[in-house]
């Protein structure tokens, strides 16, 4: 099975508070470190496991600048066979539709049976997978937490839905899936793994290489644009209990009692 996985380089915000710069135009990026979007990492692991089971190859692709190459290498160190960087000044400022159109160009250049994306990204909207599928007229499923390969034409796909239930679907190939975390246990990639693939050439493709429709990409054609960042106003928020621990507990117990919280 030929699998394409779309990945994204995002700020790693797990342990640190995000702050906004003084003008509100962006978050404070000076002290941030970047990594591959967590959801995408699960998607790559899933692709590698499918390849290892049924054969084929895994290609990772990202739309970004030179820095984005680092996440491609990391995913290649994980076991992806190829990496492709889609980079062009014309891509800058594209909205989700634009990014989907760029990736569509890459999909059409290849012969992929399965295209995976992460279900969402910390700084994204969970949109590219579904858009890409619609542009390619391929079936799509979001929040995928299980993939069973039936044969080279069909797969069964589980989706995470409410109540912790799983919705099973049969999908014909080729199709696009957006992968939810927890579908597998991604393998570890250390410095050694990355060094091993450090010299592997990663092709860079621009708008002309991909034959992307110029009318949908770039900031000028974005129908959805981020204007600024802000910290949501505190609103009413909670009544914060202050004072010594005993004092707080006393107040809290009174409140819980009055609301029927202590039986």
């Amino acid at each position: 099975m030929e699998i394409l996985v779309c990945v994204k380089r995002v700020p790693d915000t797990s342990e640190n508070e995000i702050e906004i710069n003084s003008s509100g135009s962006d978050i404070q990026r000076d002290d941030l470190v970047y990594s591959v979007n967590e959801w995408d990492n699960y998607a790559v692991e899933e692709a590698i496991q499918i390849r290892d089971n049924v054969g084929g190859s895994v290609t990772v692709v990202t739309v970004g600048d030179d820095d984005a190459e680092e996440v491609l290498r990391r995913e290649m160190a994980m076991g992806a066979d190829k990496g492709v960087l889609l980079k062009d000044d014309a891509f800058e400022g594209s909205d989700g539709r634009g990014v989907a159109a760029i990736i569509k160009g890459e999909v059409e250049k290849g012969n992929y049976d399965l295209i995976l994306t992460g279900a969402q990204a910390d700084d994204g909207a969970g949109q590219v997978g579904g858009m890409l599928a619609a542009m390619l007229d391929m079936p799509f499923a979001s929040l995928v937490n299980r993939i069973d390969v039936v044969d080279d034409k069909k797969i069964n796909v589980g989706r995470e839905i409410a109540g912790g239930n799983q919705e099973m679907n049969e999908m014909s190939l080729p199709c696009v899936l957006s992968i939810q975390t927890g579908i597998n246990e991604p393998r570890y990639v250390g410095i050694r793994g990355i060094r091993k693939v450090a010299s592997v050439e990663i092709p860079v493709k621009g708008a002309a290489d991909l034959g992307v429709d110029a009318a949908v990409i770039g900031a000028a054609n974005a129908r959805v644009k981020r204007l600024d960042y802000f910290v949501p106003p505190a609103g009413e928020g909670a009544e914060m209990l202050e004072g010594g621990v005993d004092e707080i507990i006393e107040k809290l117990i009174d409140m819980l009692k009055s609301k029927g919280g202590i039986k």
Binding site: D12, S14, D31, R187, Y188, G190
Partner: protein, 695 residues
Amino acid sequence: MEPALIPPAHVTFLGIPGAFFSVLIPVVGVALFTYIMAKRLAPMVLAAPDFRFDRVKDRVAAVIKLWLGQFKQPRYRTAGILHIMIFAGFIILSLRSISLVIIGVSPDFHLPGMAGGPGHVYNILKDYAATMVFIACAIAAYRRAIVKPARYAVPEKYGHDHTGEAIFVLGLICTLLISESLFEATAVVGNIQAGLPVEALAPLTLAWLFKLMLSGAGTGALQGLHTAGYFVHDLTFFFFLCFLPLGKHFHVITSIFNVYFMKLDRGAVKPVRHGVSEDKLDELESFGVKKFEDFTWKHMLDFYSCADCGRCSDQCPANAVGRPLSPRFISIKARDYAFGHYPLRGPFKSGEPLIGGIYTEDEIWSCTTCGACEEECPVTIEYINKMVDLRRGMVDEGNVPQSLQKPLAALEKRGNPYGKMEKKRAEWVKALAKEGGPEVKVFDGGDTAETLYFVDSVTSYDDRIQEIGKATARALSAAGVDYGILGSLEKDSGNEVRRFGEEMLFVELKEQNTEAIFESGAKRIVTADPHAFNTLRKDYKGLPPVEHISQFLSRAIAEGRIKLKAGEGEGNGEGAVYTYHDPCYLGRHNLLYDAPRQVLDAIPGLKRVEMTRCKDRSFCCGGGGLYLFYEPIEDRRMGQVRVEMAAEAGASVIVTACPFCLVNIEDGIKTSGMEGKITAIDLVELVCRHMDVAN
């Protein structure tokens, strides 16, 4: 003078002289033994290299102390004494056994220097030795078969019981002793009956006993027993020789070599591959141990040398809390793998993965590298290096528990396992200043100082453990030390990173720290974290001298630079009973048992008790560094077990000298419901509490 009985060399069987058999048995025996040994050596030839041919003096000293001196044996008293008896007997009897082989051809043979007086003395000695071994074997068999000490039991998942093999070997040894004594006694009785002069047999020995029993026997019977005794001994001897490499008694042959080639540097970790320098690591195809043949030859020799005595597992804290790890079976399973895949007959089978084969992932991650097993092993089998090598193999395959992946990624990106920002590494210093504490120099701000205080991650970032950092700073300041910290330039020391098998990440951290330390111009390093202390000393190269804060405190107190006063009032130690918990990386790995105790005892009026398991038998609290993130399969927590040990010793305060011990023990106090009854404190915190600043 001819003896009364015909010596074995001269008797004939079906017209064939006995000497023929006396030659045949050793020739066949030695040939078979050589064949078996060649098979046993085969995997060692394919094994990874290990340079253990240096430091001859240290190695000979180790052999004298640990092998010949049986130094570790008495740590388990009964078994140890029995072993020493058998071992000493074997050493003495080995001369007799060699000469007996030759006597089968040449009846009058004496080993050089053994004719006459010395021979006579030796004969008395060896008769007593044989008797001593016989008694020891009898007791040992009784223990094995009837008493059945718990540590010999084989849990179901690890295979069948090993008692049969043990009893069989004890039987073989007894057969040797009885046949040799019979051979000797019959000769003496025969000579007495013929009126020939005899050497007196040492009273109360086996031979002496047989002499009494046989004094009325006829010549024919005596001759029969004499010949039978000889050949039974000869056959048993060579059978035993060939049997040794087939099981746990291989240690009889290998232990001397295993001790000679032992790991000499405590706390250190072997390189990824001996002979491959750090900058060439990238060229290695594979890291660590993935298949049996990836072990070093010394590690294979370890497997062969395991006597299955169970002391390692008996001391292992992971085993004690029900984790799926028993060091004994790390060896036994690998030995059985070697025997099975390098069989005496048939082709060799190599290349099977060990993880998922004889070992499980959880088994290998369960080890806290505390070193209790290695401390105990009478034949110096090493485990930590094997664990590290197996982990290196897993890390290389990407096979790392999810719970460890985040901290490892954070270490790579941020230099600490919490993923906190580098610039926040020195924030505790600001908090200290706000509390009215001393100003601490921070080198990343351009300050310089004589002494570098290496803080490490947990002390820099953990709210509770920052108190250790603050106390360390207060103590250093009080003693008038010119010191500072690296601040954002400091990275995690990497002690656990290396021991979790992430060598390349460790190398990265080490290089960054080394550069920062040299840049700082500091002349010496002090740290309150034994893990940092260990790795800076053992894994880093060329740093200024590194000291643990307990060493510093002990000296500063002795020199009067820090003065201590008694605690006053409840909550300040009055009426409290203290016990000191030895951190593994301070004690076993660096032999610092006394300095912290000296510091404690310098506090006026402090009452201190020892736990049963202290010093080199200290019980690991659960491990540091990345162990705080790993989620083991276990029935109980080590910290909790340790807290119960302290309670049993009658302590109300557990003093330790390691941030991770404090985390684990405070946690153990909570989970064992001992809050209010027992508290934990770090040594340097305690010193600060008792510092007499007025003077």
